[in-house]
Symmetry: C2
Subunit: 336 residues, 2 copies
């Protein structure tokens, strides 16, 4: 039995065990999320996404260090790193990366690092990431850096979860990179061209800038995405004053040398201030929490239905599908 | 009203409209899937996955052409290409790629090409891809090549859907490429090192080979993944004879010049023969169809529940979540 109070008071072993409970989806996981939920709402969730090879991990490490060092006149913020590694859905292969990070950031008690390997469950990744964020937020972390590979569903999920999305590009990554940028511009609040010491870096930044300008004329970044989502979902939280005042910056960074990192930390803080002042912070929270609730409802409905299921009938109907005697859609009508 | 018979008899306009119905999730979509379902089960679903820049699109085009040309003594197979583009979740930016393909493959009535851009719906991509496969299978296509960006959930989805998974790597793509391979080896039935004219190609192939050998000792490729999934899900379809007899080949290919493509076509055919002879074909079908049914059930349950929902109560409880008065998990118990 993991103690929620221990997590609140900074016990790292309890926190680690709670996160493992989330990954394994044990009953403890739900209890702890409920217990810590009242203490959430403070953490700034920052998604860092980009293609493999863009140097996300190095960037995230440098950001964590910079956040810890940059607060001269106040207590340094507590930083958590969630490394979501959906590229190893089966092997949980993120552990090596963890060890390398641990060495680099070792000794700083204000930084907590945890990898999460998707277990291949449909929707499981998004769900676990959100639960991780709840526990870490409730445990008192001020900034939660969530590192994901930027492609497909992971991108959509991070745009939904994070307050601020940083998209990392590396110069000259491949020929169909242009196709990626189109989609990714809409979720980026801050664009980073990493490995800026490479000769093509300026060109990449220029290309991104042109694409950004073409997409102007409304709200940029995740704001745009959210406004559209809100319209679709008819979320009942209206921002009191829609200020489309965020200009997505494009930053040249060489993460491995630490150059450009301080500017990026300033951008992240500025973006939070912008979200809070424009009420988008509240809108995003509302959107995210409603999504969480919906996912919980869906799972519970299926559980309840399966409890009362005539298993024999289900297997018979399944066999008829395999024999192409009935389509899954027909069977659905017979089952429900 | 789209006519299922027209789709069966090769009317491409009807097929295109049916696929659009799937994307828009209209009632027509379900009716057509049900109508065509009895005619499915013939098509060989081949997933082609890899990072951006690995040259997947070129490879898929060359495979389509090679399949059409390689059957000397029989009618050439009908080929469909589904280009899933989850990297543009919002922009639907796959259209340009389509036009380039159309030019290359124009004039061959035995090849049908269709892009699908995810609309950002959770689980939507996997669902639509499966529905596309059902319609194309029912329409009489023999081989369905499904091109996806290889990362995260898309990978898991393609491993579930496809009979044969081809993983495409390009030499020297970036520093964290090693992290990818660990996860991707488990879903690969065939490994392709594309752009084999590059000097690093041999090294990449060698590295892949070492990793493959380290992971030996059981069933390779998607078989391994499926055996584990089957154990987890307790699917009641046992292969009559477990033959772990597939050696995942590693092929050096230069897709843009067409070199290595014929060998790859042979591999794909060999893999199908292996699946059929080992009963894994049936196991995969059973697994996939049960997943389809489960997804349908989940959606329907939510729909039914929402019909009887007290909207006012729901909104009140949602507000209490936003104010941190209740956790989503508490609210769940009050709602269900």
């Amino acid at each position: 039995m993991i103690d929620a109070e221990a997590i609140r008071s900074g016990n790292r072993l309890a926190l680690s065990r709670a996160l493992t409970a989330v990954e394994n989806n044990t009953p403890d996981s739900k209890r702890l999320q409920a217990a810590l939920f009242p203490f959430t709402g403070n953490a700034h969730l920052v998604g860092v996404t980009g293609a493999p090879g863009s140097g996300k991990s190095t960037l995230v490490n440098q950001l964590a260090k910079a956040f810890r060092q940059s607060s001269s006149n106040e207590k340094p913020p507590k930083i958590a790193i969630i490394a979501v590694d959906p590229t190893s859905p089966y092997s949980g292969g993120a552990l090596l990366g963890d060890r390398i990070r641990m060495q680099d950031l070792a000794g700083d008690k204000g930084i907590f690092i945890r990898s999460m390997a998707s277990r291949g469950a449909l929707g499981g990744l998004a769900h676990s990431t959100a639960a991780f964020a709840t526990l870490l937020d409730g445990a008192g972390f001020d900034v939660i850096l969530i590192e994901t590979v930027g492609a497909g569903q992971a991108e959509v999920d991070i745009a939904r979860l994070a307050h601020t999305v940083i998209v990392v590009e590396a110069p000259g990554m491949g020929d169909d990179i242009q196709a990626i940028k189109a989609g990714i511009l809409e979720i980026a609040d801050i664009l980073v061209v990493n490995k800026a010491d490479r000769p093509e870096a300026e060109n990449t930044a220029r290309a991104l800038n042109i694409m950004l300008e073409m997409s102007h004329g409304g709200i940029n970044g995740a704001g745009k995405h959210f406004m559209r989502s809100l319209a679709e979902k008819k979320v009942n939280t209206e921002p009191s004053d829609k200020k489309p005042g965020w200009e997505t910056p494009i930053r040249l960074v060489t993460a491995i040398e630490g150059s450009g990192i301080d500017t990026l930390v300033d951008d992240i803080r500025r973006h939070k201030a912008y979200l809070v002042s424009s009420d988008l912070w509240k809108v995003k929270e509302a959107f995210r929490l409603e999504k969480d609730l919906e996912a919980l409802i869906k799972d519970k409905l299926l559980d309840q239905w399966q409890e009362n299921l005539d298993e024999e009938k289900y297997q018979d109907l399944l066999a008829e599908i395999l024999q192409r005697k009935r389509s899954p859609i027909e069977v659905l009508d017979l089952l429900l």
